[in-house]
Amino acid sequence: MKKTGEVLMGKDPFEEIFMGNEAVVRAMIETGTKVIASYPGSPTPEIAAAILSIPEDQRPFYFEFSVNEKVATEVAFGAALNGNLSCAFFKSVGLNVALDSFVQLSLMNITGGMVVVLGDDPGANSSQNEQDNRNVYRMSRVTVLEPSSPKEAYEYYKHAAALAIKEQTVVVVRLTTHVCHARQKIKFSAYENPAPSRTNFSRANGPYIALTVMALDMKRKSIQKLKRAGQYIRQAGLNTEIKSNNSRNKGIITSGLTFLSLLDVFELSSYRPDILKLGAVNPLDPEVILAFLHSHKEILILEELDDILELQIKALAYDHGVKTKVIGKTEDEDFVGEYTPDKTRDKLSAVWPDMVIPSPASPALLFPVPPRPAQMCPGCGHRSAFFAIKKALEKEDVTVADIGCHTLGYMPPYEIGEVLLCMGASTGIASGLSLFNDKKRVVAFLGDSTFFHAGLPGLINTLFNHHNITLILMENGTTAMTGHQDHAGSVIPVENLLKGLGVESILSCDTYSQSKLTELVKTSMAVKGISVVIAKHPCMLKYSRQKRKQPGFVQTHVDIDPEICNQTHDCVERFGCPTFTRKPDGSVTTNLDLCIGDGSCRQTCPEKAIVFGKEAK
């Protein structure tokens, strides 16, 4: 078996099939990246998984899960001021959290160099939006490289590191979901020795205090740095022209995975425009772009999400009196969703109808297949919690959700959680909803990892401003949604923290004690001011995986006793564990592939028809 950690640490050049996220880790090793910090979030958590596959004592760098993306950015920045090449990585919306620190970075003389790997999520596969972070990079004055494949992710990280070191600055590697998660065979270079750890911070390397007139001087320097970055990009040949012998005087400017979509569409095309592939999406190279504009009659700017390239290129064309027709986004839908090969083909067909050969008619969908929304796992403590909490709520009560597995409580049959913004927002939103509100009680939900990430200021605000809400802390002891990363709760028990903050009403129980939880929530909601219920149960996905690895493990399950069952259907319709399978005749059975034998469902059946299987006896 090829162990990822061992392969990643290989000294000699090698070829291996790696995911984009894994390839980035090899680049970190080869470049001597010394400090790496992250907060988990899709599409980048496999970067952390690949790092953790290297035993801690063999890692040539320091790695931590920071408490949130802003702190991760700050840790990486601080380490780089000591002269270490550092890296922070996180997901698209993580940049919103990190932004206050991130926008300052280009003003700083980051002596060790710093790379930020950001995973944007076009298509919002696992995020609350599909924000285009390229909007932020101009304001932040940072260089941004955008690979189109795992192979390029590896190569571009190395370019980013080299440029960051050379200019003592920050460089972003912009990945997108399907670049992070694509797999291909890649040729890797040799890795020599671990970089030395440095502690040579000196304020003489600064200034590092951007205040008053200094902030403007520092901005002037950052403008110069970005210009020099442009020279590096040109020398490294990161923007490349792919010439066609039947372009019909047409050209396409594109970047990232959209470039590969375009090549697939070309396989179905009667002619092929020339392509200018931008490996660097900030700063743009005006000379290369102008030359491309001048040498074509029509140019299509093919970019996913927002019109960042388009607006800059059109401005450039205007300033230089370029007569070439420049086509960009024309429909609202051009701003929405990932530019898959299908979407790219449709766009090209609309712009140049004679270019793309029509696709074969699709076979009719003969049977409508019911959608499959995500849901909580079998045995999930949150399911027991929602089942119990629903009994404590009045119809008019307002429930506010937060980010995490418990967000899924908004789905039927629970329908708890009616508003959601982002990480840690629930207590603030709930506070606002509680104003002038004597009739409806307001309940906020928050997971434990999110509580530490961004939930604390909102909670402190409820105390400071005396808001009248109930907070239910869904404590499962891990960052479950993104793959069970550790969080601060392992060293700072949430209950101690709440007591220390001065929360007077703190109630707590295991969510499997469903009737007790119902009572606690009723009691808590009767309290005036902030009251907290800690609804705990360990993440059962994590727990059952650990259990399964133990010697002598026997998988237990529950059965429905058909003699006792009288088809009340509380198990399928109100408790809603995916383990229960409903037959056309109304009978219910358990799916043995899914049941983990936790038995949390047994208390939900009024007839007591759910019984443990024989192996549990």
């Binding site: 078996m1 979901t177 998660h181 696709s359 699709s362 003969l366 499959r372």
Partner: protein, 191 residues
Amino acid sequence: MKPFNIHITGVGGQGIGLLSQALLRGIDHAGITAIAVDTHGLAQRGGIVISQIRCGDGVHSPLIMKNRADLVLGMEIHEALRGASLYLKKGGTLVFLDVSWQPLSVRLGQTPEITLENVETACQISGAKAIRVEIKTMDDARMQNMALLGAVSKNALIPGVTKVHFDAALEDLLSGDMLKKNRAVFDAWAV
């Protein structure tokens, strides 16, 4: 080699990741260039997992265009039909496990469950070849993926890729007891 597209689909927790990696590495061991990608938004929470593999010449993005998959592998009957409807090309092959993990609306009694008959009728009408893999005898659900891999190998569904290549792939990915157990299932379904 002509481009060959494989669309693999199922529900989070069924072991699609290992199946996809075994196929990708098998194709690579056969000396064929390939690129793959997983799409698994909230897969761990019982959502849909999709993995796509593209191999051969003139293949660029790892994402397959609609109705252009030569082969669709379904680990679950609802997802098999959904995957085939969206991605299978005319005359392509659908291999599916005869297993049902009911989606929410079926469990709530709002929509009927997809049946074996539905899938077979759909394939008949759209001119697709359907291969059903029956696994009622298997006690460890987490190795259902190996039964599907066995069926792919047995029916020689990927041009130029044979059992030796998948054997080598499994050796890359697993070791010890896990390798032994997975291989036993693979072998049983590959002959």
